[in-house]
Symmetry: C2
Subunit: 262 residues, 2 copies
């Protein structure tokens, strides 16, 4: 009877990412939180970085079972990170999980990156659905990155989100500095820094002489406040930005109500 | 000399969309605002609906000149709507335009659709760059939709944004009811309604017996306020929602600062 009760109480944790199901970051995330409940993985079958909040319209999606995580139920999906969350709820879990975790991304998703990030879009999609979520990113693009510090903080935060019921629409954008675990200074709740990419496209010619362009770009932070995620990360804090999906700019709304001519 | 002065003062208007450069909606938009300045079109070479804020990483982009708009300079791009804006600024215009218009989309982008919409992501990308922008959508998916009402309001609004300098980061999400022009009740500045899609995937079997899934879903509005875009559209107003790219949830930030354990 004890077992039955435990099974009934067990929390369901959905895990996805945007680097694809084979990336070391998602394996690190599964390892770090599997003691907190029943983990189910539904992740893209290939890298989907920069996909933003893309969804797949006009072509069908497929799910294939994966054995990459041993005993843990896992599915690889032909769609985007947002598709993975939608399909997981409707066709894999047949219910809303208690929490959704996305990551651990190889590379930063702080400040304006939240807009472009497939990692964060998966988390935001869960939050829209009323599933508390955390997107996690390590500031290291390397496939051989050291996730040990990120794993400690992922577990600490996931446990609190799972049990504290902050808000059913909670969505946290968490970034972890690429330093040894013992140098991390703890969580810092922040705002998104006002920053953007200064774009430069590298222009090249193909063998037939036609131009093509590679997106490059330098990250520029215009926000010198000490309350931003960029500041926190520079000072070895794990940055935590709560993210919303009501994009209304209320300040400009007031201004426009007064000045827009009909 | 008068001509030279005029040329120097002429406003540059960048136009893009997510339905692709051949869609009737973008042609309608070009027609409606070409008297306001020098229009340049840079749009995807194929439909990109649901692409959200996707950018193209890991493969190059191409631009091909287009004659679809007669004397108006136009380029079709192999990338996403956001790619189009980035490339237009860096490689076509070699400067920031005075305004960016995206659309007119075939189908609604009100309320939560703003998150999934390529139309709105292109507009938001411009706003991040400090280019005032408007994304426009008609509540009619048909390729034969009547854009005449939408065109009138597009021109009215574009002129004001171009000359009133509301804010360099202004981004407006504008939706137009699918009714004859004379029934439109004017602009209404609104907030984004809290609504979402109740997902259902249609499940089918391919000829080899394997499952595949089509995204479907019913739009459900949970927001009964009269200050929302959904309300405005139901009452034949043209809804105008100012959109922000600071996604920080400030209310939850305060709460978390008090309760998050380190």
């Amino acid at each position: 009877m004890a077992m039955a009760k435990e099974a009934g109480d067990e929390k369901i944790i959905l895990i996805t990412n945007d680097d694809g199901i084979t990336s070391p970051g998602i394996a690190a995330l599964v390892e770090s939180v599997k003691h907190l409940g029943k983990v189910v993985v539904v992740a893209p079958d290939r890298p989907q970085s920069g996909m933003g909040h893309a969804i797949t319209i006009g072509q069908p999606l497929r799910l294939h079972p994966s054995k990459l995580f041993g005993d843990i139920e896992a599915w690889q999906c032909t769609g985007t990170p947002v598709d993975c969350v939608k399909l997981a709820v409707d066709k894999v879990l047949h219910r809303k999980p208690d929490m959704c975790l996305s990551g651990i991304n190889h590379g930063p998703n702080h400040s304006i990156n939240v807009i472009y990030s497939g990692t964060m879009s998966a988390a935001l999609e869960a939050a829209i659905e009323g599933i508390p979520s955390i997107g996690l990113s390590l500031l290291d693009y390397s496939v051989e990155a050291d996730f040990s510090g990120a794993q400690q903080y992922a577990a600490l935060l996931a446990e609190q989100v799972l049990h504290k019921h902050f808000d059913k629409h909670l969505c946290l954008n968490v970034n972890i500095p690429a330093v040894p675990a013992e140098l991390l200074q703890g969580f810092k709740v922040c705002k998104q820094a006002y920053a953007k990419y200064q774009e430069e496209f590298a222009e090249r010619k193909d063998p037939t002489g036609k131009n093509y362009y590679w997106l490059t770009g330098e990250f520029v932070n215009f926000d010198k406040g000490q309350d931003t995620d960029v500041w926190a990360l520079e000072h070895n804090y794990v940055s935590v930005v709560p993210v919303q999906f009501d994009l209304t700019h209320y300040q400009l709304k007031e201004k426009l109500e007064k000045s827009l001519k009909h």
